[in-house]
């Protein structure tokens, strides 16, 4: 007797088989015919579309595409027109006047005027009064450090900003100008709840129209005042914790540009066809920092507080070897806390330490740390020096660095035990909480970690201030002279004067060595050249196209498949001069598609889910019916 259920199951299985067979020819990736899409891959997943609430590189990348800064970053991080198209400083240097481009519109067609600048900057000023923060607080220093006292708009085309001291920082500010008519109900108190859902209204070249857990999609701003790139859409796709999957997708031509592949994958990409693999100088460093806190805590020896001890150990680190073996060559040896990328501010210190085991040994002897009977040095309390070296689990290269350092320090008589810790644990370890007793805190000796800076050196200088203990300080180092110099350089009237103070700060830091900067890591990027051309780096010499500062290089891309390379734009022909309305783009560029509350958008998974559940129910009912035969018998 035939079993109806068996037939049913057989049909289901056959259906699956047919579906799979049907997939094979259709498995080529479906492309729209008319829309040119730039697909970018990154290992960070966007945390927020609100520029004041993002902590990540990818967040900055998105908001600099969506919005203009008052003054944008140019090809060499030089000030170029942004929201303002020209600016002047008063004779007494205490007042700046910015001219807002005539006829400029927001991406929803509303006029963009000086009122929007005043609104945005006042949001910051009010929020940071009396020690408050705006959002996460990452954008606050750009106005706070510029000594701004007031922002006003005498007319729709002009913004006047007054400062209490002369400063050049106003033309290097990362604060995006947001539309007052959209943000009018946002205050510093409720900004954390403002999601800034798509479509995001801005004056930048591309607007966010869709944001999901997997990617963010931007389309052309039809009212943009300047040149746009050949791409009609930009999709930034996230590969959180999966850089190798990202590289696989890139090799498979599912991505046009990737940022931060691993060094090993990067080397493979160097020989791939139609691919440029770019290693560029990065604005950051990796350091070995010591626990130098002088008022207690869990450091295992007082030797860590002695700058002579730390200096001597500095001679036992072979930085070129670390770069070669750990970074596969993608870095430069470290010295001061201002990376060479910040060309105007970096200074090589005097008495540069090189790898010299003999010298390290003699310096340690001279500093009063003799070897004990078993070869391990003892500190001034007679205790053998046994240092714990912690590394966070976020980057496997740190653990490799630790192994080398363990070996080298061992050669000079310092025992090191290395351990990889969870990032959260390590962050808590390093952060001093003054409301709790000191005895149980700061339970570490040495840590390897890293920092990434801003175009302005203040960001990296300030992690070493006394006031940073309890927040960003890794070492709990405190030097009143360094603190005083920080204020002086911040208040300097000219760049030359500022550099003078900064040079002193760098030398003090290098001599005291609370951190030993191991190396300045390179940025690794890769892109295909057969779909897009016109790739330019920022800075032009030795930089990379994307994930730097601002979005200018997105606007320079051309279509590589066109026989005669047209000027950068297929749609918007507006010249970059100020004045003159921008003609809306022709039909090639679709208008920004509004989505509902910025989520997953497609009902597709729901439908497939319903189908799947239906199959499940059918199968289940069949299986539990005991009167019928329950399973087929393949014969």
């Amino acid at each position: 007797m035939r079993s109806p259920l068996r037939d049913r199951i057989a049909r289901t299985v056959a259906a699956f088989g047919l579906a799979l067979a049907a997939l094979l020819p259709a498995a080529t990736i479906v492309h729209a015919k008319d829309i040119l899409t730039l697909r970018v891959g990154t290992v960070e997943a966007l945390d927020s579309l609100n520029p004041f609430e993002t902590a990540l590189n990818v967040g900055y990348e998105v908001f600099t595409l969506n919005y203009d800064l008052l003054v944008n970053f140019g090809p060499n991080n030089d000030p170029v027109p942004g929201f303002a198209d020209s600016w002047t400083q008063s004779a007494d240097q205490l007042s700046w006047t910015f001219h807002i481009r005539d006829g400029m519109k927001w991406s929803d067609g509303q006029p963009a005027t000086s009122a929007d600048v005043v609104y945005t900057y006042n949001l910051e000023l009010q929020g940071t009064k009396n020690g408050g923060v705006v959002g996460l607080g990452y954008l606050d220093p750009y106005l706070k450090d510029s000594f701004v006292t007031a922002v006003s708009a005498p007319d729709p085309s002009h913004v006047v900003i007054t400062t209490s001291r002369p400063t050049s920082k106003l033309t290097h500010s990362y604060i995006p100008i947001v539309p007052q008519h959209i943000w009018k109900n946002v205050t510093p108190a409720n900004i954390n709840d403002f999601l800034n859902n798509p479509p995001v209204v801005g004056t930048g070249p591309y607007q966010v129209v869709e944001s999901t857990s997997q990617y963010v999609r931007l389309t052309r701003n039809r009212y943009y005042w300047g040149k746009q790139g050949a791409e009609d859409e930009i999709v930034i796709q996230y590969y959180p914790s999966a850089p190798d999957t990202m590289v696989a997708a890139f090799k498979n031509n599912e991505l046009d540009y990737i940022h931060s592949p691993s060094a090993e994958s990067f080397n493979q990409l160097k020989t791939a066809p139609n691919t440029v693999a770019l290693a560029s100088e990065g604005n950051g460093f990796t350091q070995l920092n010591y626990n130098t806190y002088t008022k207690g805590g869990g450091a295992s020896t007082t030797a860590l507080q002695d700058p002579l001890f730390r200096q001597a150990l500095g001679y036992a680190i072979d930085k070129p070897t670390l770069i070669q073996k750990v970074l596969l060559g993608y870095g430069t040896p470290g010295s001061t806390q201002v990376p060479p990328w910040e060309k105007a501010w970096h200074t090589e210190p005097n008495d540069l330490r090189t790898f010299d085991i003999a010298k390290s040994n003699s310096l340690l002897d001279a500093a009063g740390y003799p070897r004990g009977a078993d070869g391990t040095r003892v500190d001034k309390q007679g205790k053998p020096i046994n240092l714990r070296l912690y590394t966070p689990n976020t980057d496997p290269s740190y653990a490799k660095d630790a192994q080398f350092i363990q070996d080298w320090f061992g050669q000079v008589g310092i025992k090191v035990s290395a351990q990889v810790l969870d990032e959260g644990t390590l962050v808590t370890d390093e952060a001093l909480d003054t409301t709790k007793p000191i005895k149980t805190q700061l339970d570490y000796d040495m840590v390897i970690w890293g920092w990434v800076g801003d175009p302005d050196p203040n960001a990296l200088l300030q992690i070493l201030l006394t006031s940073s203990i309890g927040s960003t300080s890794d070492s709990q180092w405190s030097d009143p002279q360094y603190d005083a110099l920080y204020d002086q350089q911040n208040e300097a009237a000219t760049d030359a004067e500022r550099k003078m103070y900064m040079d002193q700060m760098q030398q003090i830091f290098y001599d005291a060595a609370p951190y030993d900067i191991l190396y300045y890591d390179n940025n690794l990027d890769a892109y295909h050249t057969d779909k897009f051309a016109g790739w330019q780096n920022q800075p032009v010499q030795g930089g990379a196209p994307f994930f730097q500062d601002g979005s200018i290089n997105y606007t320079l891309l051309t279509d590589a498949t066109l026989a005669t390379p047209a000027p950068s734009v297929t749609a918007n022909p507006a010249p970059q001069s100020s004045g003159g309305t921008v003609a809306p783009a022709p039909s090639v560029a679709p208008a920004p598609v509004p989505t509902d509350t910025g989520s997953s958008g497609s009902p597709l998974p729901l439908i497939v889910g319903i189908i799947a559940i239906a199959i499940l129910l059918v199968g289940f009912i069949g299986l539990t019916r005991r009167r019928r035969a329950a399973a087929e018998d393949d014969e």
Partner: protein, 324 residues
Amino acid sequence: MGGRYFIRKVAGACLTIFMIVILNFVLFRMMPGSPDRILLRNPNVTADSMAAARARWGLDKPLIPDQLVDYLQATAAGDLGFSFKFHGEDVTDVLADRIWPTVILFGLGEILAIIFGLALGAYSGWRRGGPIDYIGNGISLILYSMPYFVIGILILGVFAIGLHWFPTSGMLTIGGGDGTFGGQLTDFLAHLALPVTTVAIGLIGQYSILMRSSVIETLGEDYVTTARGKGLTSARILRSHALPNALLPAVTLIAINLGYVIGGAITVEVVFNWPGLGTLTVTALEARDYPVLQGIFLLLSVSVVLANLIADLIYGRLDPRVRS
């Protein structure tokens, strides 16, 4: 089935869920590294902004009773809080985005594994000692012992990177899609094919091994001997007597496994960059995003408890010996 049995089981499930909710809260707060500290690796952060972050997330209040009571009240009202990492977004929204991809992936994977696994196991048990048995059993054991990510990487390497038959990652091709529903569906299925195969292969071993031993055991029962004695054909014995009884353990296993569908396997999702709850768990863990972690844990625990409850109830219905 007795009403008493039903009520007892449901009450037990409710109590378990309540204890899970409390454990949920305590467990994640015990992890070192609070979320405001994780924000610290940006050099522009000041002590003020950190303090503001702590206050905003309610972390400055004492753990017990203030934070615990707040948490219990909110959970009872269905408010799972706001994500720390995805600043400002509701946890329920963050989870809702990602539940469907995981359920589809693992639901379909489970179904395929069940169908093929049970079939293979039944056949192996029936033809014990035959070639299918040896080969099938051997393969099942190998696949069962391989971690998901190994299977996943192998499949990815061969079919996506090597043969270019399928895309390497993600759920849909964005910025592509020809817009029609058919095109979208094809695109989705193309992306789904490899991960689903990985999950199915990883799970098939469980079902086939279980079914095989269950069938073997059933075939040794007295009533099977009786049936043979009565002159019934082998096929008839298998279908009407042996398999229904052999399926009982399988039913329980199926019901329990379905509870884990929501958890997803983190490794498969990360290998294929599948935007489900698995990748969300990794992201939330790194950021110490307590509300999201608590939400995921709650979801997973509740679904496992419910699946167990259903398994108990179904077993009670299927097997009269169990009902009291």
